[in-house]
């Protein structure tokens, strides 16, 4: 991952006279990749190519330009399918993880009743909690939670207990956006399938850090956002097993491009996956995301995982005497992507503000996981999160910044 920052224009030297204001940030210490990652040139170029060379609507025009745009769009779908070890018909484009989870919550719950339950976990992001809560109000099912172990991992014994014959859906984060812990997804899927429940994996925080193989995970659905794996904002993926798309899931949005034939009284649906993509899609977003997964795969997962493990171990070691780390800080637990922390009697907001003076970007607050913070007995926390471009120098500067914070508040 040496010199990888060079591939990211935001870290380059400022160009004179940008028309839109703003500037590049060669000295920025960007430690908020769990919120959104930066974008490499290859992704920007791919989108730019669409806008400057093939801009037209997809699946519609007979003319060459539209054929080229459609080819680029479908090539991106194929890349993403390969990236997940899925088939192309199983890849549905959404606006992001939140869209995917809402679509699933709306689509899968109308048949549920007060006898049924949906199983989530204690560490879910609001996007994998609030949609289910709202649907529970409509349909009367209960929500159960898989508990955490003392080391803040998902407790498999608890999973086995809460998933029962009345469980219809089990939906969980593959990686926690606060604790960084990794779910034993395969085991949880096993429990769920033994009870004939469907499994949904929220891979938003995992997809940039771990290779994802939907066949190996044996999940029924998996969702993620493009902007968390170096792709554009406003694009995401809903993976679904083909059989479920064919038999269990009805189209969620209706309109153009998702139909086969329409009369004044009814309509029939297009083939997979178009039937789940009504209206003109985020074409440049899809193309950008395709470029992002190709680029990420080209770096090599072994190298990505090794680099990020090294950065994580280095950061935990440097930070453990400076701050109170939320979640596991011990070597044998695989922690991915994020370190949430607090400093006694200094509010996280103040930590972030002072770090900002030195061009260090971290996130503070509940990270859209307020119930988890309450569950852990924590208030808001500060969170540093890493990407492929994170260096030891970045972490050293964070540690220096934290020393400064403590000095100001001493």
């Amino acid at each position: 991952m040496q010199n990888i920052k060079k591939q990211f224009p935001i870290f380059s030297r400022p160009e004179a006279g940008s028309r839109y204001g703003g500037t590049n940030h060669p000295n920025m210490i960007y430690l908020d990749s769990a919120a959104t990652t930066q974008t490499p040139s290859v992704v920007i170029d791919a989108m730019n190519d669409y806008y400057t060379k093939t801009r037209s609507n997809v699946h519609r025009g007979i003319y060459d330009l539209s054929e080229q745009a459609t080819a680029a769009y479908e090539a991106a779908r194929a890349s993403i399918a390969k990236f997940l070890n899925a088939e192309r018909e199983e890849i549905i484009f959404t606006s992001g993880t939140t869209h995917g989870l809402n679509l699933l919550a709306y689509s899968l719950t109308p048949k549920l009743s007060h006898r049924d339950n949906v199983v989530l976990t204690r560490l879910e992001h609001h996007a994998n909690l609030v949609p289910w809560q709202q649907m529970a109000k409509h349909y009367g099912f209960t929500i159960r939670y898989i508990e955490l172990t003392p080391e803040d991992e998902l407790d498999l014994a608890s999973a086995e207990k809460v998933i029962d014959a009345n469980t219809k859906i089990v939906s969980f984060a593959l990686v926690s956006n606060v604790l960084g812990t990794v779910a034993q997804a395969k085991k949880i899927s096993e429990f769920a399938h033994a009870r004939r429940a469907l499994t949904i994996v929220d891979a938003a925080q995992a997809v940039a850090h771990l290779p994802i193989d939907v066949e190996n995970l044996d999940c029924d659905f998996l969702v993620f956002s493009g902007h968390k794996l170096y792709g554009p904002t406003g694009i995401g993926v809903l993976y679904s097993k083909k059989a479920l798309l064919e038999e269990s899931l009805e189209p969620f949005f209706f309109g153009g491009d998702m139909i086969k034939s329409v009369s004044y009284t009814d309509a029939t649906w297009a083939e997979l996956p178009e039937r789940f993509e009504a209206g003109t899609q985020n074409i440049s977003g899809v193309i950008g995301l395709g470029a992002a997964v190709e680029w990420l795969a080209s770096l090599g997962w072994d190298k990505i995982v090794a680099h990020e493990r090294e950065m994580m171990a280095y950061a935990l070691d440097k930070l453990k005497n400076e701050v109170t780390i939320i979640g596991p800080a011990i070597g044998h637990i695989h922690r991915v992507g994020v370190i949430a922390f607090t400093i006694p009697s200094i509010h996280p907001h103040d930590i972030a503000e002072i770090l900002n003076q030195d061009n260090i970007c971290i996130r503070v607050g509940f990270h859209c996981a307020e119930p988890l913070h309450r569950h852990l007995g924590a208030g808001p926390t500060a969170r540093a999160s890493f990407g492929v471009y994170t260096t030891k120098e970045d972490i050293d500067k964070l540690v220096k910044g934290i020393e400064k914070v403590k000095k100001i508040f001493a």
Binding site: H347, H349, E353, I354, N356, P380, F409
Partner: protein, 120 residues
């Protein structure tokens, strides 16, 4: 800007807050939460002849929001509800000795004022 954000007087008032207690006698109570960062300020007031006779607050949050709660509650002692409602964001910033804040931090600074206005 942020060089002067954590000036000494502000940090001092953050570490040694004013009026940070629940008064034994109060008739008005209101809590405001800043959902972006989890700051909380709850205000307790007893009015006499429409003037603030007793005021106290409880809360947790960043230095800006908490110092502001101290200084804002102190500034409105003896004032009428009508006068308090005319207090401006600028006047709170002046109390805090802060020139200008970005929109996120401004919400922290004005949390106590918001709680006060909603309480009355």
């Amino acid at each position: 800007m942020s060089g002067t954000l954590y000036h000494e007087a502000l940090l001092e008032i953050y570490k040694h807050p004013l009026n940070k207690q629940v008064p034994s006698d109060f008739s008005i109570q209101h809590k405001e939460i800043n959902s972006t960062c989890g700051d909380e300020v709850e205000i307790f007031i007893k009015l006499e002849n429409d003037r603030v006779a007793t005021i106290g607050w409880q809360g947790s949050g960043c230095a800006i929001s908490q110092a502001s709660a101290s200084l804002t509650t102190d500034a409105v002692k003896g004032k009428t509800a009508a006068v308090i409602k005319t207090l401006t964001p600028e006047s709170v910033l002046h109390l805090l000795g802060l020139p200008k804040l970005n929109p996120t931090r401004l919400r922290c600074a004005l949390l106590a004022l918001e709680a006060l206005k909603k309480a009355l």
